[in-house]
Amino acid sequence: METIDLGKRYRRSWALQNCSLEIPAGRIAALIGPNGAGKTTLLNLAVGLLSPTEGAVRVFGSAPSDNPEALGRIGFVAQDRPLYRSFTVSEMLRFGATLNPRWDDAMARSRLDRLNIPLGQKVHKLSGGQQSQIALVLALAKRPELIVLDEPVAALDPLARREFLQTLLDATVETGMTVLLSSHLVGELERVCDYLVLLNAARVQFAGDLETFAEGHRLLVGPRAQTEELARVSHVVHATHTDRQTSLLVKLNGHGYDPQWDVRDPGFEEIVLAYMGQRVEEVETTR
């Protein structure tokens, strides 16, 4: 999947702008960003539910919007996992089989069987975790080459969340499909994913290997100081000030530091939060 200068505008405000990124085949990509950053917009563009205002999105080389051939190769689990509440589980499977020529019914049934989800049960009588699993199985049974998930575990308890991600990972290992997954649970994503897309204020801040993302970042803690002085020696991602103390998350650019700073390596989550905490105008300058 790749996007080229992709932008989407609702009335006057841009939900996504100048978004160019590429998710290589076979990767498990995390999409992270604060609320309103444009994550859902990007995912909806990727699965063709929205059409771009400018630029283009390509999945397997073609635009997904109104393109049944491309849509057949994309699995999608939307936010709050919509399902036909009055259908039974097996009717949901029939729904999938009716609308998808590549549908793998045996696989869907065996997955649901392993999860102990009864086929005769009505969807609305199942737990939230089970409903999420059904939504995931529906997406997987299309035998997609790309699966897109919009905050699929947000409403789940930790156990259901782990089971859900396990189903997803198992399927990924089996099929080698590409995954694009958005979530606020940064810790979980670090464990599961190997690619990162960081989105803030409608813009892409980072898109690349998860491993290289953390490289070069340092956390400096020292007496209260002006950030401008430091801007010369390194690139300040985020600064927090208390009365006495200043904490800076910086990205190295080869210079050494004044010994007054206490330097340490930040965790993945700290770095992500630092980027997410940037204000809109900072996003513009740090891109």
Binding site: Y10, G48, D66, L71, P82, Y84, S86, G96, L99
Partner: protein, 322 residues
């Protein structure tokens, strides 16, 4: 897709089909009841000469029945509304609960999904209108048997062509409201107000203006009985004019021609009075042979509205954001 469409509409079908079947039975009984009273009276020739006691009983029985059942059939003008609501609710729920986003990310284009949905609504509502037209056709002819006019509301509005038009308009309006508002109450409100409003507008304001009425003015002296004879035409206006063309109110005419207390032949007196005063009879009307034309115009009007609303829904569903 057939299975899915059926599955989505199953609940509404379970509600709608028995009710519709019951209405067909009621309509059948109404027609039977009125027709048997009609036959009982007409076998004795009561419609030509109903002076006997037996005839007056049979005639009053006939008129009682037809007015009683006639009141009921007025309620049946709401059928397209109810059918449209039942047909549109599954699509509304789909949009309200977001399952359209699930459907639109399967291997099917939104265009095809929308066309199947719209095609289904058009098919079912046409079918319902056709069944209803067949069910009411005996009723129409039985109320037309005596003194109803072709242009009378019941007779005009139960004709097959306009029934199809009303049905398609109602369902197109319901779908457009559902697609645009995505909420149950606003959808039902827009459907009810829009449909009833349009029907009232066409029935009471527009229909008589589909064409200019035929006007005629006949001097009272030339009357050969055409003033009082029953004629199957839609009279919009009738009154007496003076020779200079001034319109007289009915009170004014009655004042002018008040018979004396000892007057024996009232009709002859009246006729003579009208002639003596040089009055002319004026009327504006639509002749019966315009019935088919008016049916076509009204049907075209409703089909045009339906087409516009379907196009709006199609555009909204396939072009606008999910």
């Amino acid at each position: 897709m057939t299975w899915l469409t059926w599955r989505l509409h199953r609940t509404e079908a379970a509600i709608g089909i028995p009710i519709f079947a019951a209405l067909i039975v009621i309509m059948f009984l109404a027609t039977q009841s009125v027709n048997s009273a009609y036959d009982a009276a007409s076998n004795l020739g009561c419609f030509d000469n109903g002076d006997s006691i037996l005839c007056s009983e049979r005639l009053s029985d006939y008129y009682d029945r037809s007015s009683r059942w006639g009141n009921l059939t007025t309620l049946l003008h709401g059928i397209p509304l109810a059918v449209a609501a039942l047909l549109v609710i599954p699509t509304l729920q789909e949009l309200e609960r977001g399952t359209h986003r699930l459907a639109w990310t399967q291997s099917i284009s939104r265009r095809r999904w929308t066309l199947i949905r719209v095609g289904f609504l058009i098919g079912i509502s046409t079918l319902v209108a056709a069944v209803w037209a067949v069910t009411t056709s005996d009723w129409r002819s039985s109320i037309l048997q005596v003194d109803e006019q072709s242009f009378a509301r019941d007779a005009f509005e139960l004709s097959p062509a306009v029934l199809v038009g009303y049905g398609l308009f109602a369902v197109a309006l319901g779908l457009a409201a559902a697609v645009v508002t995505r909420r149950l109450i606003p959808t039902l409100a827009l459907l009810a107000v829009g449909f009833t409003g349009t029907r009232i507008l066409t029935t009471f304001v527009l229909r008589e203006r589909y064409r200019n009425p035929v006007e005629e003015t006949i001097p009272a002296a030339d009357d050969t009985g055409q003033f009082t004879a029953f004629e199957d035409r839609w009279i919009l206006d009738e009154s007496w004019l003076t020779k200079s063309g001034e319109r007289l109110s009915w009170e004014r005419v009655n004042q002018l021609c008040t018979p004396g207390a000892d007057e024996q032949n009232f009709e002859a007196f009246y006729q003579k009075c009208l002639v003596d005063n040089d009055l002319q009879y004026y009327r504006a009307f639509h002749p019966t042979d315009r019935f088919g034309q008016f049916q076509l115009i009204e049907t075209a009007l409703y089909l045009g509205l339906a087409a516009g609303l379907f196009a709006l829904s199609y555009w909204w569903l396939t072009r606008r954001s999910a």
